[in-house]
């Protein structure tokens, strides 16, 4: 799968990469440091990712703003977006579902728990039929 990870925190990026390589999965991870960068990437004409993992709290453009822009786009609005965040704020959760998301995953405290959770998320999307291209 092609995964687009939108995340400003380096350690978080490392956590996902480590999880993927540790579990021996063959996903390609593309990174974007923030929403603007992600939009640029998505509109660059390169093949679109299969799923997007999106952090909510980011500088400049928040995850929710990015999500709203994406849903305005005739093509990009069909991308499955899975939120990956530490925010347990119910307001955020509800707002994300209102705009339209494919999942909402809260980052656990312990890395072991993170690895466990992410392996399940990725396994789920792997068995899903994806639009591709």
């Amino acid at each position: 799968m092609n995964i687009l990870l939108i995340e400003d925190d380096n350690i978080e990026i490392m956590k996902l990469q480590r999880t993927v390589s540790k579990l021996g999965l063959s996903h390609r991870i593309t990174e974007a440091k923030n929403g603007e960068q992600a939009l640029e990437l998505l509109r660059s004409g390169q093949p679109l990712p299969d799923i997007v993992l999106l952090d909510l709290n980011m500088p400049r453009m928040s995850g929710i703003e990015f999500l709203s822009i994406l849903k305005e786009d005739e093509v990009l609005k069909y991308l499955p977006i899975v939120i990956l965040t530490t925010s347990e704020n119910r307001v955020d959760l509800v707002e994300c579902y209102r705009i339209g998301i494919a999942g909402y995953v809260i980052k656990p405290l312990k890395y072991e728990d993170y690895q466990d959770k992410l392996s399940k998320v990725l396994a789920y999307w792997e068995v899903n039929e994806l639009v591709k291209g």
């Binding site: 925190d9 978080e12 490392m14 709290n57 965040t85 530490t86 704020n89 980052k107 405290l109 890395y111």
Partner: protein
């Protein structure tokens, strides 16, 4: 029998014979005498009878010729004789038709007539028989009859004779007088005015009104003088007037004076005294018409007091009073209005109110004026400028003013300066708005802070894990232990951040109250918290369903149950949960048989960050959350505990 005896008997017999002969002779003589007397009497009787008859006839002649009607009747009321006058008066002639006098008596007088006749028979004469009769011409006539019986020679009554007087006119006059007297009495007795007739100050007659007014009986009053019932302060004045009246200088006078009542009280009365004079102009009587004006005076007095009271209130009240006409031109203001507005009376009166005080929204005054014209009263607020040009807020209560014909001639307004209140109100509104915003901001802030604190914690935790994993072979035990310590501290801090976030999100505004079954809540908690083998959580009685925010009640029970579980060290650990219903609150209890809490901590443990346990993972915020939730539901929380035996937390939630 011997001869002697026979001789004696013969002699006795002889004597008796002689005696009888003598008696017979005497009897004969007496009879003769009696016969002579009787004969003589007969003669004289017959003589007398003739004499009587003669006399009667003689009288007949007299009566026949007298002027008053004269009638003789038998004892059955049949007329035997009547004179011409009687014939004329009654219209009947007994020589032409039989006339029974009973039949012409007016039916009202039949019983009276029978009674009178009885009396005539017994006494022999009857005087002043008065009755109405009907003449042949069907005229009702009043008659006065004096009559006597006529006897026969055997002294037996055989007839009655009577002289009739026509008193019809007399009776009519009498009746008229009686009628008039009655009418007059009716007027006098029903008069709302007390009426007193006095002769030289002595009361002669009074009416019921006056009797009722003073409470004396009429007889008591008749023993009194006007002076006796007059208040001393009035006597001099009224007597002076009476003197003038007696001199003929006054015919009548009016005076307001006090009369004492029998019960000691007094009435104030307007008295009109008139003189009643004889032909020579001398005063016979004084007639006084007495009108009780006590109540009238009291009412006037009350009215005056009220008026004084209100005018003094108006003058002294802290409210501005203003009267305007229909064109808003000021007619009257009180001192307070001048003070409030800063203008003098002269600057106000005669000018348009809204102009002088520069009512900021002039339209409102026009609207209110239109409402006054249709009789509406209400209150409204305006912003004005005082003489110094400062903005003031006034609360005005306005009502229409009417003239005597009920036409609206303007309005009257009471003004309260509410500038301070208004400013406070505006300030309050601003503060509330700010508070709301800052509350929202705070919520948001708490979430951001918690996120920003949690993210690095996750990074540190990941890094520590990777160190442990990647450098497992290179680290000695001490190093591994320290990494383990780092992980534990991170967990503690993560819990603390969660707790603070929860604590800060408990407030009224965010509550979502629904009917929650507490049994389910406790059941759910039992499933998600770690309960060691040695501890049993038991619900002692069916818990109620209550109207609360499900998340908050969950947090509440979870904290208390977790605390209870954590603090149990014995092998037969037991946590008992029970409830009971009070009038206004539900009371819940969570009881454990754990280590117990020393008395000195019973208050302290509810304060934020106060942890008393040795437990490393205790953040000290759990019971603060519990306390805050209980506070939000207007309840109380307290605990009973014995060290070494256990602790019971009680808390109440308002229904």
């Amino acid at each position: 029998m011997d001869n002697k005896e026979v001789t004696l008997l013969k002699k006795a017999l002889e004597r008796q014979k002689k005696a009888r002969q003598q008696a017979e002779r005497i009897l004969e003589e007496k009879s003769k005498e009696l016969f002579d007397v009787t004969h003589h009497l007969k003669e004289s009787n017959s003589k007398l009878e003739n004499l009587l008859n003669e006399k009667t006839s003689e009288l007949d002649g007299v009566f026949i010729n007298i002027i008053d009607p004269y009638v003789v009747m038998d004892l059955k009321f049949n007329v035997i004789n009547m004179n011409n006058s009687a014939k004329t008066f009654l219209g009947y002639d007994h020589t032409k038709e039989s006339l029974n006098l009973a039949s012409i008596v007016h039916h009202d007088f039949i019983a009276y007539t029978a009674q009178s006749f009885q009396s005539l028979i017994e006494v022999g004469t009857l005087k002043n028989y008065r009755a109405k009769i009907l003449t042949k011409a069907k005229e009702e006539k009043w008659v006065l009859i004096n009559s006597s019986l006529i006897y026969n020679t055997d002294r037996k009554p055989i007839a009655a004779q009577g002289i009739v007087r026509d008193i019809t006119q007399e009776m009519e006059v009498k009746q008229l007088l009686a009628e008039q007297k009655k009418q007059l009495n009716t007027i006098v007795e029903n008069s709302p005015l007390g009426i007193v007739l006095a002769v030289e100050d002595k009361i002669v007659k009074t009416n019921t009104t006056f009797v009722e007014l003073l409470g004396y009986t009429e007889n008591e009053l008749k023993e009194m003088s006007v002076r006796d019932i007059s208040a001393p302060e009035d006597i001099a004045n009224s007597e002076k007037l009476i003197v003038q009246m007696n001199k003929g200088e006054l015919d009548k006078f009016s005076i307001i004076k006090k009369y004492y009542k029998k019960d000691g009280g007094f009435v104030l009365a307007r008295t009109l005294v008139s003189a009643v004079k004889d032909e020579k102009g001398k005063v016979d009587y004084q007639v006084a018409l007495v009108e009780d004006i006590t109540k009238e005076r009291e009412a006037e007095e009350r009215l005056r007091n009220e008026r004084e009271k209100y005018s003094s209130i108006i003058a002294n009240m802290n409210l501005g009073l203003i009267e305007v006409d229909n064109d808003d031109v000021i007619q009257m203001v009180n001192q307070s209005f001048c003070t409030m507005s800063g203008f003098d009376r002269e600057e106000l009166i005669g000018n348009k109110a809204a102009k002088v005080v520069q009512v900021q929204e002039g339209r409102i005054i026009d609207e209110k004026q239109a409402e006054r014209l249709v009789g509406k009263s209400d209150s409204y607020e305006v912003e004005v400028r005082n003489k110094k040009g400062q903005s003031r807020h006034w609360l005005i209560s306005g009502a229409p003013r009417y003239d005597n014909n009920k036409n609206v001639v303007g309005s009257i307004g009471i003004h309260l300066d509410i500038t301070d209140q208004k400013q406070l109100e505006i300030q309050k509104e601003k503060l509330l708005e700010e508070l709301e915003k800052s509350n929202e901001g705070l919520q948001e802030y708490a979430h951001i802070v918690s996120h920003d604190l949690k993210s690095p914690l996750r990074s540190i935790s990941a890094l520590a894990s990777w160190l442990t994993e990647d450098y497992h072979d290179k680290l000695d035990d001490n190093g591994k232990f320290n990494l383990q310590q780092i992980q534990e501290k991170i967990e503690g801090m993560d819990g603390l951040i969660d707790g603070i976030l929860k604590y800060s999100s408990i407030n009224d505004a965010t509550l979502d109250n629904t009917l929650v079954d507490v049994n389910e809540v406790v059941g759910g908690i039992r499933e998600i918290i770690f309960v060691p083998e040695n501890v049993n959580i038991v619900i002692m009685n069916p818990l109620p369903s209550i109207k609360v925010d499900k998340t908050k009640i969950h947090q509440l029970f979870q904290n208390l149950i977790s605390n209870a579980v954590v603090n149990i060290e014995r092998t037969d650990g037991l946590v008992e949960i029970s409830s009971k219903e009070n009038t206004s609150h539900w009371q819940f209890s969570v009881k454990d048989n754990g280590v117990g809490i020393p008395k000195e901590y019973h208050e302290k443990i509810f304060k934020v960050f106060q942890s008393i346990g040795n437990n490393q993972r205790s953040t000290g915020i759990g019971l603060s959350i519990v306390k805050k939730i209980v506070d939000v539901y207007q309840g109380k929380i307290w605990l009973e505990s014995t060290v070494g035996e256990g602790t019971t937390f009680h808390f109440t939630l308002k229904k």
